[in-house]
């Protein structure tokens, strides 16, 4: 098989593959991880967790939420875009990547489900 034909096939298949994984990513659900199990061991991994909003802080570009489930807490960082509002003691689900800041484990939120 000559290179041009092979290139066309690979290009077509890769675009198709990218598209399929995009659709799969949109519809796939992450398994829920309890707040107590989220620590440095999951650093850089994408997790989904849920809990009650225990505290809300707001800076110029961020919302910083304390998410609580039983006695376990985790900080959730949300970059401001659009009209987001949060209420204390309301329940939310968060999907995002686990990170560390000043020795504390945090989730950088990618998706919030109220």
């Amino acid at each position: 098989m000559d290179n041009t034909k092979l290139f066309n096939i690979c290009l077509l298949l890769s675009i198709l593959g990218v598209f399929c994984l995009l659709i799969f990513g949109e519809f796939s659900e992450l398994e829920e991880t309890p707040i107590k199990d989220i620590d440095y061991r999951l650093m850089d991994q994408i997790v989904k967790t849920s809990g009650m909003i225990d505290n809300i802080r707001e800076t110029k570009g961020l919302y910083i939420l304390d998410l609580k489930e039983n006695s376990d807490k985790i900080i959730v960082i949300i970059f401001k875009k659009g009209n987001l509002t949060f209420e204390k003691n309301s329940r939310i689900s968060v999907e995002g990547s686990v990170t560390e800041y000043d020795g504390q484990t945090e989730i950088i939120a990618k998706r919030i489900i109220k």
Binding site: S14, G17, V18, L21, S28, Y40, M43, I46, F79
Partner: protein, 397 residues
């Protein structure tokens, strides 16, 4: 004192294992260390455990060139070493390719250690200034690299295709996202093309050409500057630092490129220690582990870790060259076509084990994308868009 040397030796053994085994990340051992911290602290102290972690991490940055060059199974930091490394392997110079990355690692480390007194003051400054502009810096450099390519249109298409695929892959619900992504883009795609072209591995020579001092200085200098400026920023790592460094010169020979990649990996690792001392930010799993164990990171600790890094670097050169020599002799005795197929099977199995069925799907698509630049005669560096585009969007959006 004897405990420190024992910790260094055990760290070196762990570094050999993590460096040589594709998919076994430093973070895995760091997590194991933290998990067993209470037991370890009952038999030794926090400083000794930290010495073990530093030794393992520095040695890892030397030995991880071997699977990239001989197997085509890279990590983020060695992805760009696969192609020139493989090309030298096909010339019978796999050993030399590894040696060049070691030259980069060793001299890069020595240079950056000499610069520590300066870096202690500069890192906080760089961090605060560049952090706000990293997206624009990456956009300008990516555009420059695309414009510099003879086939600009295709270079742009491949950068965007890899970039979009990177964004999708990094958001998929799977673990170890980088392994199937980078192994496909830079590893299996290279091996498949070798199989297609029916190349054979010639007898490997255990020798290397003399490099000009100018080439070494250019590579190390670029590595030090790029790693210091971008290697420590959040969301940015040695892969992006390599792209920044590549824009410093119009022409990179295979040899000087391998020195550059080797230097960036080790410098970024060492600088993460200095950064933790200066800005108290842990930039990788090893430093997170140290931050959990060491209550306070003092100047004395920094000086100890510099000494440990130098001892480990000396040992790493001997260890890595010995393993590379052994691997070179082994390559000459085995059937290359069969080896290629075995390596592809190994990467497929590892993708399944590390990232599950989704990881396997990512490996297939990334392999398809990985063969495109070679078939079109475009530089494969543009595929680093898979890591650069997500970072650009992270900072811009």
């Amino acid at each position: 004192m004897i405990e420190i040397y024992i910790a260094i030796l055990i760290g070196c053994v762990a570094g050999i294992i993590t460096g040589l085994t594709p998919g076994v990340h430093l973070n895995l051992v760091s997590v194991m260390v933290i998990s067993s911290a209470s037991f370890l602290l009952s038999i030794t102290n926090a400083t000794i455990i930290s010495v073990f972690i530093i030794s393992m991490s520095i040695l890892h940055t030397f030995t991880n060139a071997i699977p990239s060059i001989f197997l085509g199974a890279p990590e983020e930091s060695t992805a760009l070493a696969v192609l020139p490394g493989h090309s030298l392997l096909l010339e019978g110079r796999g050993y030399e390719a590894v040696k060049l990355t070691i030259i980069g690692s060793l001299f890069g480390l020595i240079t950056v250690i000499l610069l520590v007194p300066l870096l202690i003051f500069i890192i906080p400054l760089i961090y605060s200034i560049i952090n706000n502009y990293i997206a624009y810096i990456l956009i300008i450099i990516s555009l420059y690299l695309i414009i510099r390519d003879e086939k600009k249109y295709w270079a742009f298409v491949f950068f965007m295709l890899a970039g979009v695929f990177g964004i999708i892959s990094l958001n998929l619900p799977m673990k170890n996202q980088l392994f199937p992504l980078l192994s496909g883009l830079f590893g299996t795609s290279t091996i498949i093309l070798s199989l297609k072209d029916k190349v054979n591995i010639p007898k490997q020579e255990i020798k290397s050409d003399i490099l000009s001092k100018k080439e070494i200085i250019k590579s190390i200098g670029s590595g030090v500057i790029a790693s210091s400026f971008v290697g420590l920023l959040p969301g940015v790592g040695s892969g992006q630092a390599a792209i920044v460094a590549s824009s410093f010169s119009k022409e990179w020979s295979k040899r000087s490129w391998l020195i550059l990649i080797g230097s960036i990996d080790t410098i970024t690792m060492f600088l993460s220690i200095v950064a933790y001392y200066t800005i108290q930010k842990a930039r990788n799993g090893s430093i997170v582990a140290i931050s959990k164990i060491l209550k306070e990171f003092t100047l004395n600790d920094l000086i100890l870790f510099i000494g440990v890094s130098l001892i480990v670097a000396f040992l790493a050169v001997i260890i890595t060259l010995t393993i590379a020599k052994f691997a070179s002799r082994l390559m000459a005795r085995i059937n290359y076509q069969l080896t290629c197929i075995s390596i592809i099977v190994l990467i497929i199995i590892l993708s399944f084990v590390l990232s599950g069925c989704i990881g396997f799907s990512v490996l297939i698509v990334s392999t398809l994308i990985g063969v495109l630049p070679a078939l079109k005669g475009v530089g494969r560096t543009h595929l680093m868009g898979c890591l650069i585009l997500p970072v650009i969007l992270f900072f811009l959006l």
